[in-house]
């Protein structure tokens, strides 16, 4: 399996990368870790004429906490997030999600930005980023803009990024003290991708849920935020019965993916079960 021939460009700056991308138009693709793009190119599902490798853009490789915001550059690898003390100390959920991706070799190369832009419906990052209400930053030669993760994912391998744009990074608000979080995933055995993955981030006053974010990946063609489940939990006592009752609605009205790995019905079942379990995990029980 060998990709079709292409021109290879390694820009030295974000401006140069954006200019190359603008010039290449639909014929160009940027490359980060290459762990989704290259498999697609080997299968000739993608045949870019120009590949723009972002590897020299060291400014996109940083993890920073400033004020109450955790910022992660687009080129930060899954392994970097998994092992970063800034992430572990400020937002352990993201480190846990990173550590659940693929295997060590994949985590060494794959980047958070590449995963987000690729938009695989079974990818892990979207669940956590949706649960936490992450903001994404995009740049093109025309300027920069930011966008909520909730508006970014549009369908299988489809996101709101323009062909001329580069994702430079993302940010999340550092969760308030006492926030509890968990990620539950049923893995596809060979790759580690999520058959269903549920990320939960919640706050409680005593045993009353005061706020909650739940991100769901793997279940549908587009990762989504389970707002109906969230609404049902907010203001309620976090008893086992209330949790199960709320989680039971996670797949309602969702067109569940149906493929060789799992039927739609089974995925919906896994989603209900693991939503309840992820909430219990977050509560530490």
């Amino acid at each position: 399996m060998i990709p079709a021939a292409f021109d290879y460009i390694v820009p030295d700056s974000l401006e140069a990368a954006a200019a190359s991308l603008a010039e290449a138009g639909d014929n160009g693709k940027v490359m980060a870790g290459g762990h989704s793009l290259l498999p697609m190119m080997k299968l000739r599902l993608a045949q870019p004429g120009v590949v723009i490798d972002l590897k020299r853009l060291d400014s996109l490789r940083r993890i920073q906490v400033d004020g109450g915001t955790l910022r992660i550059g687009a080129l930060v690898t899954h392994h970097q997030v998994e092992t970063s003390s800034e992430v572990k100390d400020n937002c352990a959920l993201l480190a846990r999600v990173a550590g659940s991706i693929g295997d060590p070799q994949v985590r060494n190369r794959g980047t958070i930005g590449g995963s987000v832009v690729h938009g695989d419906p079974a990818a892990d990052w979207p669940a956590a980023l949706l649960a936490m209400g992450a903001e994404l930053t995009l740049t093109s030669s025309g300027g920069a803009r930011s966008m909520a993760a909730g508006d970014f994912f549009l369908g299988p391998l489809t996101t709101a990024i323009e062909a001329s744009e580069i994702l430079t990074g993302l940010s999340v608000a550092v969760p308030a003290a006492g926030t509890r979080a968990a990620y539950r995933k049923v893995k596809q055995k060979a790759s580690g991708f999520a058959i269903v993955g549920i990320a939960v981030c919640l706050q409680a006053d005593g045993d009353t849920c005061t706020d909650v974010g739940i991100g769901v990946t793997g279940l549908a063609g587009t990762p989504f935020r389970a707002t109906a489940v969230e609404d049902q939990l907010r203001g309620k006592a976090l008893t086992a019965d209330n949790i199960t009752a709320a989680a039971a609605g996670v797949a309602d009205g969702v067109d569940a993916l149906d493929d060789i790995h799992a039927s739609g019905e089974f995925r919906a079942h896994l989603a209900r079960l693991n939503t309840a379990r992820a909430i219990q995990d977050a509560l530490g029980g």
Binding site: M1, I2, P3, A4, A5, F6, D7, Y8, V10, M31, G34, H35, L38, P39, M41, K42, V51, D53, K55, H79, G102, D103, P104, Q105, V106, N108, R109, A190, S191, G192
Partner: protein, 160 residues
């Protein structure tokens, strides 16, 4: 389109300058251009880990990397481990513990083990299994591989 790019890579300590097509995969560069056939090709789809090598000290699957992506990098393959004084402790341990049968997965297993022990010199059984998650063996049933990694860890600690 037969455009080429010049890359400079250090492979097992030897500097190389090469004209390559951008689409050349690292594994093909190592095997076909340099003749380092210790790195195996199993699945070609980044799942089996047989092609694992180290790039700048991190284990990667060389079937899912372009040679041009390693321009300026240090690449180490299975051939870098043994010296004139004998096998590397990880190789010794795989031999002693019967960590291989057909041996097809072994170069990748050993390179993945190398990264694992580099990050965690005393892994538990669970950590070993998690650390080798990206490598598939169709022969051994993994038990002897886990034993080999444990022995290698002990020996490498004793040796330092």
């Amino acid at each position: 389109m037969s455009n080429t790019t010049t890359i400079q890579v250090r492979v097992n300590g030897v500097s190389r300058t090469e004209e390559v097509q951008p689409r050349l995969l690292l594994v093909h560069y190592l095997r076909d251009v340099l003749g380092l056939t210790g790195t195996h090709i199993g699945c070609e789809t980044s799942l089996c880990g047989a092609c694992t090598v180290m790039v700048d000290g991190a284990a990667v699957k060389s079937c899912t990397l372009l040679a041009v992506q390693t321009d300026g990098c240090e690449v180490e393959t299975i051939e870098s481990l043994a010296t004139d004084d004998g096998l590397h402790p990880i190789q010794e341990a795989f031999w002693d513990c019967h960590g291989l049968q057909c041996g097809f997965c072994t170069p990748g297993m050993i390179m993945a083990t190398r990264q694992l022990l580099q990050e965690n010199p005393s892994p538990s059984e669970e950590e070993i299994r998690h650390g080798l998650e990206g490598n598939i063996c169709r022969c051994t049933g993994y038990k002897h591989i886990v034993d080999a990694v444990k022995q290698a860890a002990e020996q490498m600690k004793a040796g330092t």
